[in-house]
């Protein structure tokens, strides 16, 4: 091979360098791939300078460090590492830097004192450095080589800056795509959730969504109902949750990493419980706790671990978990409301049934009894108590009047009432006394109902002349006979009202078997006597504000005041007074019969 003269050699080298720059320029125009641009810059530098170790570090604005973006030789293994070094960017004006000028940075990179850094920059931005370690070659880098590399760095920087920006944009785009995808999934899930009727289905879908969307296979979802917290669904946890009340986790104000929580509450009474939970959750590799709020109250808490791939969840992914859990919480509430409504509907139907039964049992029209003026009123309460009354004529021409209050409400009370009515009517046909019949009814009720079910019961046989009452009172509110006293008839305008209570009889029905027979008693009515029969719906009506009971005295007073009126007027006076007292709020059935002797 021909030896070139030094002059020719320099000329040729110049041409070769020009060609390299031109080709690089062309390549840069064609490529937006930073990987390629950086690799090319490094390879050309290595080839041109005959060195084997070099790297490119890129500054990360806002974060105090450089990234080893690409390396050759020793640095090929350090790609991706971060250097903690924050440059004073405004002072970086030169194209080339030596050890003396940036000793810290050289040392951080473990470059020798002979190393050279070429500045990668555009007119507006500092990008980073091309770092050359010349230890492989014996001679120092010449001025010409340095010029060449400065030029190379200059033409590379603009494209590099663009392509880095392009990469950033691509990343942002990808994130955006992912966000849109997440939103789509949430939308689809929310449609699915809306179709679901059971909390079990919700939990299952939640489990699949977390696994499918984010590869989360470790989580624990707690839900609060009233003051009770329970584990609604979990995945991947191996042992039982601690005994401590998980309610402590519901006090967390926001999404928190497990180790953050430990510092969060230090002097609280719930500290021990919280610590127990944190240590349990960390044992189970749960890393984040996300409280889910609805209308200002935390209703659910989800604890989640890493992905099954081992990756930590990113902020966007935590957002997804939070949104998903939120959907689940809202849908649990929806389903619960639905169930309540259904139960309510069922309850309403039962009540209607009870009302129908009760209406069927109570006489719609009262028989006319010679010498007596009788009116009756039954006002069932919202929930249907067990009030019952009856009045009908017997075979011998006398009448049987009964009034009763069955314990309990709704359908069970109505059915028992129906039983009672059947027995009264059956026994009325028999040749038996009412005191014996009362014993028979008592034994029947006692045997056929639970111990806590009983009936207060009063009945009386009214002679056909409407004058004599034969009665048995089995624990019922005493009917009262009001009579203007003899003495007062002489004194004008003075009203002294005597009262007689019809109490003779025995125990309430159904409490004990009939060991001692029920007793009966007689009462003979005089003209203008007023008898009232009532249930505790009258005397125990509650005052709308003070919640005091209406009571017997008030009832007696109102009857005394209206003593001279007709039975109907007296009845209406009582009911209007009770309604005024309770402001029309009725807790129990109310039954009232007023009888006036003509």
């Amino acid at each position: 091979m021909d030896e070139l003269s030094p002059k020719d050699r320099a000329l040729e080298l110049g041409r070769f360098e020009q060609r390299t720059l031109l080709e690089t320029g062309r390549d840069l125009i064609e490529s937006q791939d930073p990987e390629f641009i950086l690799n090319n810059l490094l390879l050309i530098s290595l080839g041109k300078l005959r060195v084997s170790t070099a790297c490119i570090i890129v500054h990360r604005p806002g974060e105090d460090h450089y990234l080893i973006k690409k390396g050759k030789g020793l640095y090929s293994k350090l790609e991706g590492e971060l250097l903690n070094y924050e440059p004073n960017i405004n002072e970086l004006e030169k194209g080339v830097y030596y050890y003396d000028e940036l000793p810290k940075l050289f040392e951080t990179l473990q470059l020798s004192k002979d190393a050279v850094m070429f500045h990668l920059r555009t007119s507006a931005h500092h990008i980073g450095f091309l770092c050359i370690e010349p230890t492989f070659r014996s001679e120092t880098i010449t001025a010409q080589e340095q010029d060449f590399l400065e030029n190379l760095c200059l033409i590379t920087s603009a494209t590099l800056s663009n392509s880095i920006m392009f990469e950033e944009l691509k990343k942002i785009n990808r994130r955006l795509d992912r966000k849109i995808y997440d939103l789509d999934s949430l939308f689809e899930l929310s449609k699915d959730f809306n179709q679901m009727q059971s909390i079990d289905d919700l939990s299952k879908t939640m489990k699949f969504a977390l696994l499918g969307q984010l590869f989360i296979n470790r989580f624990l979802f707690l839900f609060k109902e009233g003051k009770q917290v329970k584990v609604l669904v979990q995945s991947g946890l191996e042992t039982q949750t601690p005994d401590n009340d998980p309610l402590v986790l519901f006090n967390l104000p926001r999404v928190m990493a497990l180790d953050e929580i430990a510092d969060f509450q230090s002097n609280d009474s719930s500290k021990n419980g919280l610590e127990a939970w944190i240590s349990y959750l960390s044992e189970q590799k749960i890393h984040y706790i996300l409280p889910v709020q609805s209308q200002g109250e935390t209703l659910g808490v989800i604890g989640i671990g890493n992905k099954s791939t081992g990756q930590v969840l990113a902020g966007d992914e935590l957002d997804f978990v939070l949104s998903l859990t939120n959907l689940v919480v809202l849908n649990i509430k929806r389903i619960q409301l639905l169930h309540e409504q259904l139960l309510n509907q069922q309850f309403q139907k039962e009540l209607e049934l009870a009302r129908t039964i009760q209406e069927g049992l109570i006489p719609k029209k009262l028989p006319n009894i010679k010498g007596l003026d009788i009116v009756a009123e039954n006002i069932p309460s919202e929930q249907i108590g067990g009030d019952y009354f009856d009045l009908f004529q017997l075979n011998d021409g006398s009448y049987l009047l009964s009034i009763a209050d069955v314990t309990g409400k709704g359908v069970p009370a109505a059915l028992l009432m129906a039983n009672l009515q059947a027995m009264i009517h059956a026994l009325a046909l028999q040749d038996t006394t009412i005191e014996t019949a009362t014993g028979t009814i008592n034994d029947f009720i006692y045997t056929n109902t639970p111990a806590d079910i009983f009936i207060t019961f009063f009945w009386t046989k009214i002679e056909a002349n409407g004058k004599t009452l034969k009665f048995v009172n089995a624990g019922h509110d005493h009917p009262i006979v009001f009579r203007k006293s003899e003495a007062d008839r002489t004194v004008k305008n003075s009203t002294q009202i005597q009262q007689f209570e019809l109490s003779e009889g025995g125990l309430v029905l159904g409490a004990l078997p009939t060991s001692t027979p029920y007793t009966s008693s007689y009462f003979t009515l005089e003209a203008n006597d007023v008898v009232i029969f009532f249930t505790d719906g009258v005397t125990e009506a509650l005052h709308h504000k003070t919640k005091k009971e209406y009571n017997l005295n008030r009832l007696k007073t109102i009857v005394a005041v209206h003593f001279n009126r007709t039975a109907k007027e007296i009845k209406e006076a009582i009911i209007s007074d009770v309604n005024k007292f309770s402001n029309y709020t009725q807790h129990d059935d109310l039954t009232l019969i007023v009888m006036k002797k003509k």
């Binding site: 091979m1 050699r9 040729e12 080298l13 070769f16 390299t20 080709e23 690089t24 390549d27 390629f36 690799n39 090319n40 490094l42 390879l43 050309i44 530098s45 290595l46 080839g47 041109k48 005959r50 060195v51 084997s52 170790t53 050759k72 030789g73 090929s76 492989f136 070659r137």
Partner: protein, 118 residues
């Protein structure tokens, strides 16, 4: 357009011979880089690069040789070059490579230089 550049690998005892064909520049350099990485991985550190069909080499191509020579020598091996055409040798020479690399006229010379080392 992708430039044409191919590598054929042969084995002569413990020595790996890479025949490189076509143009070695910024766009094709990665192929040779990959080849060197693979050889280091399988601990084949004794390498001859036969350049008889190398039509053109750009500085990025030269960089590939530089990037691995130190590693391979530290591991007890070498990258020897052989059969360069005049134009290619000219570039190597221009950039001062002959002082750094063991460059041989032909492959058998390169082979025997390895064998003599032993």
């Amino acid at each position: 357009m992708m430039k044409s550049f191919t590598i054929t690998k042969r084995q002569e005892e413990h020595i790996t011979i890479l025949e490189i064909n076509g143009e070695l520049d910024a766009h094709t350099a990665f192929k040779l880089e990959q080849q060197f990485k693979n050889l280091i991985e399988i601990e084949a550190y004794h390498i001859i690069v036969n350049c008889s069909n190398l039509q053109y080499i750009a500085s990025a191509g030269l960089g590939v040789f530089m990037a691995y020579i130190e590693d391979i020598r530290n591991l007890g091996g070498d990258i020897k070059l052989s059969d360069m055409t005049g134009d290619v040798y000219h570039v190597f020479d221009l950039l001062g490579f002959p002082s750094l690399y063991d460059i041989h006229k032909n492959e058998s010379e390169a082979l025997s230089s390895y064998k003599n080392q032993k």
